[in-house]
């Protein structure tokens, strides 16, 4: 019975974002396409990073992780916020589903949506890369790639849960996204290698936890990274434990009642 409740909630999440596939998958696809076209193909065609990696190849895993994190966060957060409006969240609270099951169902929903966006970004990037370099963009470390996709999706799904329970309106949700997530993502090595920065700014950049997830996934695709991959694995595990605790606390203390 407990498993059925969890599976139902998870499947509901998948069905929910598939019902608005233009918003959840097609829009990120268009964004990725434009980023790759403008930054990767037009501006980056002459650039090399990590001693020889074409800039377009460098950019693709960064955009994959950026899309993954944004969509995992948005999935959990918008699911909770829309359920607060509709009253569905009360039904979930009243049903025999534990807080742990809610967290896993919502954040795994985020992994699926984020993973789908990352996959679409990879496909688009691979096409651009083939057109530019006349070679296939192979994935060098698939296990590392899968690990960082799952970890990135889970962590940002859980952040989405915590923020949606904390937020008392849409403004607060947007503010968190705009003033916390977006700067950290852009300064987390999506577009540039931290190796190209002044040593001081390199030190500052390494305080950004997103740098480790982005570079972990970059290692999975290209086999290169700005950070120690073992450290990225450890920090992502710590991040998972911390945000699992935070989201659990949010569910225990937060209100399930409708707005």
């Amino acid at each position: 019975m407990m498993t059925t409740g969890f599976i139902t909630l998870f499947m509901r999440e998948i069905k929910r974002f598939m019902k608005v596939v233009v918003q959840t998958v097609v829009t990120p696809f268009v964004s990725s396409f434009l980023y790759l076209l403008v930054f990767g193909v037009s501006l980056g065609s002459q650039m090399r990073v990590h001693g020889g990696v074409p800039y377009l190849a460098f950019l693709i895993p960064g955009l994959m992780m950026m899309g993954l994190m944004n969509n995992a966060f948005q999935n959990s957060a918008s699911s909770i916020v829309s359920s607060k409006f509709s009253g569905d969240l009360e039904d979930i609270r009243v049903a025999p589903i534990t807080n742990q099951q809610i967290i896993w169902a919502l954040s795994l929903g985020g992994v699926v949506r984020g993973g789908l966006v990352a996959f679409v970004t990879y496909l688009v990037g691979a096409v651009f890369y083939y057109l530019e370099q006349r070679e296939v963009l192979a994935i060098l470390h698939p296990v590392a790639l899968i690990y960082f996709v799952i970890m990135g999706g889970l962590i940002f799904g859980m952040i989405g849960i915590a923020v949606a329970f904390w937020a008392s309106n849409f403004d607060q949700l947007s503010a968190f996204s705009a003033f916390v997530l977006l700067p950290l993502t852009y300064l987390g090595g999506v577009f540039i290698s931290v190796e190209s920065l002044h040593p001081f700014w390199q030190m500052v950049a390494k305080l950004n936890p997103l740098l480790y997830l982005i570079n972990g996934l970059r290692y999975g695709v290209l086999g290169v990274s700005d950070v120690d991959v073992a450290l990225a694995v450890i920090l992502s595990l710590i991040g998972f434990v911390v945000f699992y605790g935070v989201s659990l606390l949010a569910l225990r203390k937060g209100s399930f009642q409708r707005w």
């Binding site: 409740g5 139902t8 069905k15 509709s86 009253g87 009360e90 979930i92 025999p96 534990t98």
Partner: protein, 312 residues
């Protein structure tokens, strides 16, 4: 066998210190097996707060709510499986159609395939033809019926109805009343809150009247009506009589509108008024209503209201 629902010394305060708002103040009552218990009160009386505590949406400040003997705070997974709840505000899910909503609801309660029950409820509540519509395409009455179907997909033993007929037209209300009576006959216990007092009078075996977070009186519906209302007797005679001023409501020629206590014997009243049977042209008795009793209870100073039939 423990009662389906037992509320004991329940208190719920919002805020702290001198700013605390006492939403529920030491409330105790129970819902017995296969009974419909009406929790009645004006807006803000604390009815929905009590339901929120029973369904774990809120935590009590003190006291307990037990479902079939299990405390909702101690064993919520057990108690949640026993309860079906129809919330006061209508749902407004934007993504899914009626049948999908009921399938998800079944899944939350552990039913992977619940098509037979879902279709039974859709037919019963006249929603089958609308099963592929989204909630926003439904009328207000259909949304209410959907909420009732949602509450019943897992066949609960205790049903909590928080103003289930608010904003529903009279014919649909009657349909819902019949359905609620059927559920009771099948052995379901029901806690009903409503502002329609004629609805409570028709459906409820017992009622509790709550005001400002406190139960003012509780007992069998007929008993409450009897205790807090008076009957009116409209008496048409072929000659005049003398009626004590405190009993006489109106007099038109030889027709008298007289107030008589609910528990009084009409024959004795007529004898006391020196009315012989040969004098009576017509006689009509108008019984008191739950609405009159409700208004009387709310107007009566707290100390003088009898609280009876409380089982702790």
């Amino acid at each position: 066998m423990p009662n389906p629902l037992e509320i004991q010394h329940l208190k719920k305060f919002y805020g702290a210190g001198s700013f605390a708002v006492e939403a529920v103040r030491d409330v105790s009552f129970e819902v017995r097996p296969a009974e419909i218990f009406g929790l009645l009160g004006p807006n803000g009386a604390g009815k929905t707060t009590i339901i929120s505590i029973v369904t774990t949406l809120e935590k009590p400040t003190s006291g307990s709510a037990k479902v079939f003997g299990e405390d909702v705070g101690v064993n919520p997974m057990f108690t949640k499986r026993q309860i079906g709840v129809v919330h006061q505000e209508v749902i407004n899910s934007g993504y899914f159609d009626v049948e999908e909503i009921l399938e998800f609801q079944s899944g939350y309660y552990g039913f992977r395939k619940n098509t037979e029950r879902i279709h039974f409820l859709l037919h019963k509540l006249n929603l089958f033809e609308h099963r592929h519509k989204k909630v926003k395409q439904l009328s207000g009455g259909m949304k209410r019926r959907l909420m009732i179907a949602k509450a019943l997909v897992h066949n609960p033993k205790l049903l909590l109805l928080d103003e289930p007929t608010a904003g529903v037209d009279i014919s649909l209300r009657e349909t819902l009343w019949d359905f609620v009576r059927e559920l009771k006959k099948e052995g379901m216990s029901i806690l009903l809150t409503t502002h329609y007092l004629e609805e409570a009078e028709m459906l409820c075996d017992r009622v509790g009247i709550i005001n400002r977070g406190k139960v003012e009186t509780m007992g069998p519906t007929k008993g409450i009506i009897k205790d807090f209302t008076q009957r009116e007797m409209i008496l048409t005679l072929n000659r005049g009589i003398t009626v004590p001023k405190e009993m006489l409501l109106e007099k038109k020629e030889n027709t008298y509108r007289i107030l008589v206590p609910s528990d009084s014997n009409i024959g004795k009243v007529l004898t006391d008024l020196h009315v012989e049977s040969s004098m009576i042209g017509d006689i009509e008795i108008i019984e008191g209503s739950l609405e009159q009793a409700f208004l009387r209870v709310l107007k009566t100073p707290e100390k003088s209201v009898k609280t009876k039939d409380i089982h702790l």
